[in-house]
Subunit: 285 residues, 2 copies
C-alpha cells in the first residue's frame, strides 16, 4: 500500500509520541520534531507508510541517542496483557468455538498499537471484539488452510499484543514460528518482548532481521525470506504487515487486524474500528 | 494560551486540509506541506496557536496563489446553516427560555470549525447541544451582564457559524457590533461571509483588520481596539478567540465555544466535546 499525504501529520505525531515515550523534555521533543521534518522532502509517496516510518524512527532513535524509546512502554504493555492472560485463557476454554474466540482475541490485542493515536480500555476492546462482526471475513478459508497446514509462520506486530498471539498459538495445535522484528522500531515486538510474553514456550522464535514496522521482504534476512517462501500458512498481524504485504498475491497469507487509521480503512473499503481476517488475493489487489 | 508540541501535527493537517479545500492536486498538496514544514523552526511555543496558524495560513495562501482557499467551503457552510435557519428560529420561538436556547444554538454552530479534524452532522450537534450540560457555566453572570449592557461587541468565528450567531443576536434585543476578520484565514468569517449569512440585517459589521484565526489585540486595527476597550459586554466565539484572549483579566468578556481539541480541553480542565460559556476571570488565569 502506498503512502498518502494524510500520513504526514501522523508521522509527526508518532515522532512526538516516541520522544515522549523516551521521557525527554519539551526542548528535546521539539528538536526531534524539527529534525524529522527535515527528511520529509526525501519521502516517496509510492513506498509504504512503514518503510517511511522506518526512516523516521531510525532518525528519532539517533537524535534521542536511545536505541529503544518504547522500552518502558512495551514492558508495561506486556505486563498489562499478561495480567489478563488467565481470564482470556478461561474465556477460550469455556468457548463453544475455541478457534473463533482465539482469533477474535488475537485481533483484540491488536489495539495495543502506539503507531496510531488512540486511548482505550483493553478489556473493553476484548469484550467488543468477542461479539463484533467481521468487516472482512475469511474465517472459512482460514479454517480450511489450518487443517491442511503442517506448520504456521506467524508475523508478530506489537509488544503486549504478543500475549494475545500466544493464546491463539496455544489454540492452533500446530508448530508455529513466531517472527519478530530484528531490532526495536516503534512498539513492535522484538525477541526480548516475545520472551517476556512467554512466546518462547509455545513457538519457535525468529527475527526478520529488519527494523521496519511491517514486513518488506527485500529488507529482511535471507533466513526469514526462505521461511516465508516455504511457509504453508502465514498469519500477518496488524496494520504494518498489511500495509507492506498487501498486493502479495499469496493466498497462504492471512491478515488479522483491527483497522485504526482512516487511510487503511479506505484502502480496505471498511470503517475505522473494523475487525479483519482477510485472505490475500491470488491476483493483484 | 501558549502553543504545545501537540499542535505541530495539527498545523500540518490544517495545511493539508487547506490545500485540499483549494482543490489542488496531490503534488501541489505535498509542495504546500513541505513549504510549511520549513517555517516550523521559527515558531515560538510561548505564542498562541492562532498566531502561529496565521503565519502558516499566510504561507499556504502564497504557495497556492489563492487568497481564500476556503472560499467554496465557506459558501457551502453558510448555505447549509441558512437552510436550517427557519427550523432553528422556530425552536427558539417555542422555547421556554429563549436566551438559553439561543446561547446553546450559538455554541452548537461552533462545530463548523475547519481548524480541527472532525466529521459531524450539523442537526445532530444542534440536538445534543440543546440538552448537554455546560462544562463551564457562567450563564447567570452572562444574563446579569446582558441586562446591564447597552450594547454588545460580538467576536465572530467561522463562516456558517455566523448563521447561529445571527439567531443569538436576534434574541439579545441589544445593538450588536459583529466583528469579523480583516481578510481570509482558514474558514473564519470575513465581511463577505457575514453578509452572506444576513448578519448585516441584525448587527453593525466591523472587521478587526487582521488575518489571524483569533483576536490578538496588538495586531488588530486602531478602530477595533478602541471599540474593544469601550465595550460593555464582549462575546468571543470559538477556540481561536479563547486561545488568543485567555488571560485577558477582563470580566466583560464571555467565551462561547465547543471544545474540539485535547490541548484546549486540558487548558480549560474539561473534556473534548464540552460546551462552554465562560466569563473571563478578573485576575490572571
Amino acid at each position: 500500500m502506498r503512502t498518502y499525504l494524510d500520513c504526514y501529520p501522523c508521522f509527526l505525531r508518532q515522532a512526538l509520541d516516541a520522544a515522549r515515550h523516551a521521557q525527554v523534555d519539551e526542548a528535546m521533543q521539539r528538536h526531534v520534531l524539527l529534525q524529522v521534518m527535515e527528511i520529509f522532502p526525501t519521502f516517496d509517496l509510492q513506498t509504504s507508510p512503514p518503510e517511511i516510518g522506518a526512516y523516521i524512527h531510525r532518525l528519532i532513535r539517533l537524535e534521542l541517542d536511545n536505541p529503544d524509546p518504547y522500552r518502558g512502554t512495551k514492558e508495561r504493555s506486556t505486563a498489562e496483557a499478561l495480567a489478563l492472560y488467565p481470564r482470556l485463557k478461561k474465556r477460550i476454554a469455556s468457548s463453544a468455538n475455541r478457534l473463533d474466540t482465539a482469533v477474535r482475541l488475537a485481533i483484540a490485542g491488536n489495539i495495543i498499537d502506539l503507531g496510531v493515536s488512540q486511548t482505550y480500555d483493553l478489556w473493553d476492546v476484548v469484550e467488543r471484539m468477542l461479539t463484533q462482526e467481521f468487516a472482512i471475513d475469511s474465517r472459512t478459508a482460514f479454517r480450511t488452510a489450518l487443517s491442511a497446514a503442517r506448520s504456521v509462520l506467524y508475523l508478530a506486530d506489537n509488544a503486549g499484543e504478543t500475549v494475545f498471539d500466544r493464546l491463539l498459538i496455544e489454540t492452533l495445535e500446530l508448530p508455529v514460528t513466531y517472527v519478530v522484528k530484528g531490532s526495536p522500531v516503534l512498539n513492535d515486538a522484538t525477541l526480548e518482548d516475545a520472551r517476556a510474553a512467554g512466546l518462547d514456550q509455545v513457538a519457535t522464535l525468529l527475527t526478520n532481521g529488519a527494523d521496519i514496522p511491517g514486513t518488506i521482504l527485500a529488507k529482511t534476512s535471507a533466513e526469514f525470506q526462505e521461511r516465508y517462501a516455504e511457509a504453508e500458512l502465514i498469519i500477518a498481524k496488524g496494520q504494518g504487515n498489511y500495509e507492506t504485504l498487501s498486493g502479495s498475491c499469496n493466498p497462504k497469507l492471512f491478515y488479522l487486524l483491527q483497522v485504526k487509521c482512516p487511510v487503511i480503512a479506505r484502502d480496505l473499503g471498511v470503517q475505522v474500528g473494523a475487525m479483519i481476517l482477510k485472505q490475500a488475493e491470488r491476483v493483484s489487489e
